[in-house]
Symmetry: C2
Subunit: 283 residues, 2 copies
């Protein structure tokens, strides 16, 4: 393993394996060829052509969402989509634009629509040495079970803002009180496009740093993380460089943290791989 | 103006306007069509084809550099290249690789070879409020005369390392003593590809942050900067958002600083333009 291997793993998307999903003149997703073909029967919702799939369902957000959801239910029966049923994401052409429809979170990679999340680096300075609070994901998580994770992370569901999602997830995942969570500093965003078994993950993760007071110990309440460990940041980096112990995208968030805090030496042979590999131009 | 306008201005490169410059199997530069055509007479050094220009001069670094330099002298006579004569850059396929040849700095954009530099954000915290030391470029500078600049910045000439270049430039440009300069923290790199009058700038700028002690006032000794001002960081950001007062690439370095230090609000409509626009994948 190497730092660059983790970056490559999150950017394994191949334009030759997908077609655009368009709404009007705008691209809103990337459909792998097999996923595009699976939409052909649903002509009242999607028009499938060899070079693109077009959303043809008409109406307001609620009616388009309902029409797409009928298709999603059929894809679930067909075992192509693992529906979550408790969380929907806004589908937009650009962050901040009004949603075109809402989509069950489990169907997001099938359609390759861009998803947004928040990740929190919870750090502590002990005698000038940086440490990171690292969580371990529960064995029953749908994605990356048992892998190491940030202290707090979560997807931004419809109707939730970025800062509000962070405060909510801080509470649920690590029992960080709101007044502490609000001290978290927004420090940028990491982006990647990754093909998975289900389709395409086109992810933008807003990164936050929060200095965790020495007397605070995180505790999980939603069952998503099973324990937390305070690790020296240089040990975390070694572990990223040499293992696959961290969830795929958490490697990138922590590399960004390490770079911003001067923990990667300027003469590290992978310095520019990290400095140039954590952000994709967003079309 | 907007933050995104500055990012777009530094990334105005259009692949349709250039051909690759190759050495063996590797691309080492981008030649604008007019610049490629101007190399046609020099058949012992470059083979010009419609879709690429190939370096054909043979030998060790010294002999290839001498062969290319004869071409550069002819381009100077032809008014296509403003030769600097005091600084050469290594031409490599990848940072850290051995150089293929050395090129006068003035000819770097003509050939569109990647150039590397260092930029230092010199900051001070006054009552919790961040300030930046900002320099003003001399009126006789070849590039961006009279524009506002970082406290220290410079290209990495051949034979100089990144950290050594920073310490040298800190001395020459701002009289920052070596022991203070060595406290600068490497925090990443900004990259862009920009067409200018001379050709293509394919630039990678290593960014450093340095907390400047309250009793230190920078002083220029090499004549490249004419004065320094300590400005509140939020005023600097306002000025970047609304004017063209800063040198083109300094806008990007300071936006990166602002992002990392939480000075750009998460709900700023340009947040993702900044967070995703400061780094290009390096081929």
């Amino acid at each position: 393993m190497s730092f660059a291997d983790h970056i490559r793993a999150c950017n394994n998307y191949d334009p030759a394996r997908v077609v655009p999903l368009v709404a009007g003149e705008q691209r809103i997703g990337w459909l792998r060829h097999d996923n595009a073909a699976a939409l052909a029967p649903f002509r009242h919702v999607f028009a499938v052509a060899p070079d693109r799939v077009r959303l043809v369902a008409q109406g307001d957000v609620a009616s388009v969402s309902a029409a797409v959801d009928e298709v999603v239910e059929a894809l679930v029966v067909d075992n192509r989509v693992p529906k979550w049923r408790n969380e929907t994401f806004d589908v937009m052409t650009r962050w901040g634009d009004p949603p075109i429809f809402r989509l069950d979170r489990g169907a997001v990679p099938f359609f390759g629509v861009r998803a947004y999340g928040v990740h929190l680096n919870g750090y502590r300075r002990d005698g000038g040495r940086l440490h990171l609070w690292i969580g371990r994901r529960a064995p029953n998580k749908r994605v990356a079970p048992n892998k190491l994770d940030n202290i707090v992370a979560g997807g931004i569901g419809n109707g939730h803002g970025i800062a509000a999602t962070l405060v909510k997830e801080c509470d649920e995942e690590a029992a960080i009180p709101a007044e502490l969570a609000r001290r978290a500093v927004p420090v940028g965003a990491v982006s990647y496009v990754m093909e998975t078994r289900l389709g395409i993950r086109d992810d933008v993760l807003f990164a936050y740093d929060l200095e965790i007071p020495p007397d605070f110990v995180p505790q999980n309440s939603d069952g998503e993380l099973v324990d937390f460990t305070l690790m020296p940041a240089d040990s975390v980096l070694d572990r990223i460089r040499t293992t696959d112990d961290f969830k795929f995208n958490v490697n990138l968030i922590i590399l960004d943290f390490a770079l911003r805090h001067g923990l990667i030496g300027i003469d590290d042979p992978e310095y520019l791989d990290v400095a140039s590999g954590l952000h994709r131009p967003l079309d």
